[in-house]
């Protein structure tokens, strides 16, 4: 029964996608839209085949993915222990609160000029944009996650002889991990916005660069192809992330 209904929804989704793409194709073929503004799906597909052939599409996609992953990993690896520490210490929370409050509202875009000035058009500059864009919000997610822990579990751990550090490592970290992962999933999406905007402004490769470059040469199909690739890549990463999540949280199964 369950498989039947899943298959049914999947069929409906595929049909709906086909209708949408066909309608788009027809509207373009019948000349209702100027191809410069909106090329037909078939044009985008031809562009994709051409760019896969000369290796550019893969190169741009991998460049952006690598930047997101490196920046996001560094940001998470710093934010998780720091967030857990702040979530369990009233004193240090008060110390760092003003700084976090100042950093949090800054969009990653606003760091681009400064980062270019400091680091130039380099990979490090790209990583730093992803880091600055995702660190403060990740930190807040993690601090919030630590508050969801049942205080009784902390009490029980201390009663069994756990020190403050033991409580952080053995109770607060695993206890808030489901929420941390949920938060990081959202942050991964934000990391992508960071990198695309950074690449739109200044880069020599990457999907953002590809989109901007396409626009410069009036290749609207390249622009749209770049956008489609962002969607597809984020979707693939989301699936991988979900597999990884199940591995990390065996007790929630």
């Amino acid at each position: 029964m369950k498989i039947d209904s899943t298959a049914k929804s999947l069929t409906i989704s595929i049909v709906s996608l086909l209708i949408f793409v066909t309608a788009w194709e027809l509207v373009c073929r019948l000349g209702f839209i100027e191809p410069l503004f909106m090329p037909a799906p078939s044009k985008i597909l031809f562009r994709a085949i051409k760019m896969i052939d000369n290796g550019q599409l893969i190169a741009h996609t991998l460049a952006s993915t690598r930047r997101v992953m490196v920046g996001f990993m560094i940001s998470s690896l710093v934010a998780i222990p720091f967030g857990i520490f702040l979530g369990s210490s009233r004193f240090f929370m008060a110390v760092f609160d003003p700084l976090i409050s100042l950093l949090r509202p800054l969009p990653s875009m606003s760091w681009i000029p400064l980062s270019l000035l400091w680091l130039g058009i380099t990979e490090t500059q790209k990583y730093s944009i992803v880091f600055m864009g995702s660190f403060a919000p990740s930190l807040l997610y993690i601090i919030e996650a630590t508050k969801s822990i049942d205080p009784l579990l902390i009490r029980a751990a201390k009663n069994l002889g756990a020190s403050k550090l033991d409580v952080m490592r053995e109770v607060i970290l695993p206890g808030s991990l489901p929420q941390i992962i949920a938060g990081l999933k959202v942050m991964l999406g934000i990391a992508w916005t960071c990198i695309i905007s950074a690449e739109l402004v200044a880069a020599r490769e990457g999907l953002g660069f590809m989109i901007m470059n396409g626009k410069e040469y009036f290749q609207t199909d390249t622009v749209l192809l770049g956008m489609v690739m962002i969607s597809i890549t984020v979707m693939i990463i989301d699936v991988v992330f979900r597999k990884f999540e199940r591995r990390l949280l065996p007790w929630t199964r």
């Binding site: 751990a157 009663n159 756990a162 033991d166 053995e170 109770v171 206890g175 007790w251």
Partner: protein
């Protein structure tokens, strides 16, 4: 010194506990004193809200008394101590740890070598009858099984005193009876000092060597009764005249306190 020679394990000395809220203060316990001898099985009975849980939390060191002090083995209790193993009504198992890992927790905190603590945990899992469930996560277990894991976790940590805060209150009658019998067997074998909180007079009579009845808030001791019922406390004992007599005595004093606390609430 003489408290030690008497074999006094815990001495509660003139303890008052006041909780200050924003607008008012609640006196949970007032000048409460009692001694618990080594190897005693004390059951504290009282109406809800009489400060039983507050008292046990003070003994465990979760909270500090406003006045007075609690002495454990001649030393004042100043913080949370693993010497007093606590068993909570809500089990308080770590959901992300298996049964085995939960039972190993206290030993891991003591940095006991892995092999040693695995063997010791296995032994206590066996004692509470959960062999075969070592790799299960708590959410796959029933309430009774969870509480058995919690008991094994405490025992494996080898505390001097076991504190149980209405541990079986959330369980169905049959599971409760099985666990009560299991607890008595464990008590007879390991001779830990036990403080057990309940609002069930039958549970108190079945388990205790001494029963302490607490007054309505502010909590003080209304009555102490040495439970001289013979062991094992089977159906025959539960139908005996002595059992009925003790039950009536306790019920009379608990009832009086319940009435008092209800009057306070309606005013």
């Amino acid at each position: 010194m003489d408290t030690l020679t008497n074999g006094t394990k815990i001495s509660i000395q003139g303890v008052t506990k006041i909780f200050s809220g924003k607008r008012d203060e609640v006196i949970a316990l007032k000048e409460l004193s009692m001694d618990v001898q080594d190897g005693e099985f004390i059951v504290i009975v009282g109406a809800s809200g009489c400060g039983k849980t507050t008292l046990i939390n003070l003994v465990a060191g979760f909270e500090a008394p406003t006045h007075g002090q609690i002495i454990l083995d001649g030393q004042p209790v100043t913080g949370i101590t693993p010497e007093c193993g606590m068993i909570f009504q809500q089990y308080a198992l770590f959901p992300w740890k298996t049964v085995q890992q939960n039972v190993e927790f206290g030993m891991k905190m003591k940095r006991m070598p892995q092999k040693e603590r695995q063997e010791r945990a296995a032994r206590f899992i066996d004692i509470v009858g959960l062999k075969g469930f070592e790799r299960s996560y708590p959410h796959h277990l029933s309430g009774g099984m969870k509480q058995r894991v919690s008991i094994a976790r405490s025992l494996a940590n080898d505390p001097k005193v076991l504190l149980l805060d209405e541990p079986f209150a959330a369980l169905d009658a049959m599971t409760r009876q099985v666990l009560q019998e299991q607890l008595v067997r464990i008590y007879e074998k390991h001779r830990k000092t036990i403080i057990f909180i309940t609002h069930s007079i039958d549970e108190a009579l079945l388990l205790s060597s001494r029963i302490v009845v607490m007054t309505a808030r502010p909590g003080r001791i209304a009555q102490e009764i040495v439970n001289d019922l013979p062991h094992p406390r089977n159906a025959d004992v539960q139908l005996s005249n002595r059992y009925m007599e003790l039950k009536r005595t306790i019920w009379d004093s608990v009832q009086a306190e319940v009435m008092k606390s209800m009057e306070v609430e309606t005013h």
